[in-house]
Amino acid sequence: MAAGFKTAEPLEYHRSFLKENCRPDGRELGEFRPTTLNIGSIGTADGSAMVKIGNTTVICGIKAELSAPPSDAPDKGYIVPNVDLPPLCSSRFRPGPPGEQAQAASQFIADVIDGSKIIKKEDLCIEKSKLCWVLYCDIMCLDYDGNVLDACIITLLAALKNTQIPKVTINKETDLAEVDIEHKRHLQINKHPVSSSFAVFDDTVLIVDPTAEEESLATSVITAVVDEDDQLCAFHKPGGSSLSAEKLQDCITRSVTRHREVGKLIDKVLESTKASK
């Protein structure tokens, strides 16, 4: 009987739960789904990570390649993120060129990488105007159950922390690059941005970590990215119902709390991979 009501009137179904301050999957309004993280699962990549927030599964693989630096920034390397939402993860995505959601997500991740200065691009430069590293970050969603942006940022951060790039020197005589695969170094990660997403229902109720159904019924979705100095790296609200100042402050406070939890999780996983080696 409940299943019939849910299909016929999904909004009323969700409203009846929100009235009791809880959600259909039993969570509190301010509760995130259990988050699990796995590092280094892709052997052929220079760095990789997979994160699961509830059912949403996102994997990130990082490949480092050599290239000439861009002409307008000869002492910097570059990072190219790409978010892929394949038809595998959800029936709403059709095969073909990337849709708007995937492209907007890629742009969002690129802006967060630039804005948060997670990696200093100067560190990626090997020789000014001649050679630099390019990090291709491919983020793919395997199971779409809402809140993809949060998962993408966590998996990107964990994969970058896991990435090891070989030492490269330029032979003065031949002017060719010599890659020393035996000696690898980790990337210098300066900031640790963590994202938290919220959905607003009926312009009044704010819920944390929406599932796919909640996202489709919500009147507005907000994503806030916070780093360890409590600086905001992004406050993304692509339209929807208007947001009052108290709700805004509420979102930011919850993001800061979430940052602590995720930071601990990433550290714990990295410690365990180091210990196992």
């Binding site: 492209q103 742009q107 804005g115 993304h236 609200k237």
Partner: protein
């Protein structure tokens, strides 16, 4: 470059708009902010493709065409912001199984492009006579290296800034409808920028009211 004081630090470049300048679209408008200029055209409510139709509301599509080159990922992100803002204000349930198409052509980009797109979009939607619950306007703020907040920055000021934020403010309660940010900033700076944007939006909404009054007073 003329700048208009709106009181307590909120300064906007000289802005202007022209409506109903194109014959084919149902509504059209251009919006100028300093040297930044965007031309918007609206078609609708019109026939919708069956695969895109929504049974109880109109389907809104937004296309942002850059001045040079093909549209890329950056334009998609802008389209998403403009589309979701418009969907929040348009009474799309009055036109079920119809399509509304909004095309924004960038004529010149000298900073504050997203806010200029939003303003042009709102004026074009008004010109097309589409039913809206409230109006919206876009305001961009940049925080420079000295932590000074500049509203409506030029392209040069944007390049030198450490953070750039664009907000869409609604006309009823002056709340934030849309927020798109780049760079890092503190919570206090975010709140200050929102407050400045809300102040600046007063001038823009007054401008909308005056331009509509001027236009329709000739007809009546």
């Amino acid at each position: 470059m003329d700048q208009i004081e709106t009181g307590s630090g909120s300064v906007l470049r000289e802005y202007g708009s022209e409506q109903n300048l194109l014959s084919k679209p149902d509504g059209s408008a251009t919006f100028l902010q300093g040297d930044t200029s965007v031309l918007a055209g609206v078609y609708g409510p019109a026939e919708v493709k069956v695969n895109k139709e929504i049974y109880d509301r109109a389907t809104l599509e937004v296309v942002v065409q850059p001045k040079v080159g093909m549209s890329s990922v950056r334009e998609r992100a802008r389209e998403q912001c403009v589309r979701e803002t418009c969907e929040a204000v348009l009474l799309s349930t009055l036109h079920p199984r119809s399509s509304l198409t909004l095309i924004l052509q960038v004529v010149h980009d000298d900073g504050s492009l997203l806010s200029c797109c939003l303003n042009a979009a709102c004026m074009a939607l008004m010109d097309a006579g589409l039913p809206m619950g409230r109006l919206f306007c876009g305001v961009t703020c940049a925080i420079d290296s000295d932590s000074q907040i500049i509203t409506d920055p030029t392209a040069q000021q944007e390049r030198e800034s450490r953070a750039l934020m664009t907000f869409a403010i609604d006309s009823k309660e002056r709340n934030v409808l849309m927020s798109s940010t780049k760079g890092s900033f503190s919570v206090k700076e975010l709140q200050q920028c929102i407050a400045l944007s809300q102040k600046a939006s007063e001038k823009i909404f007054q401008f909308y009211r005056d331009s509509v009054k001027r236009r329709y007073s000739k007809i009546l």
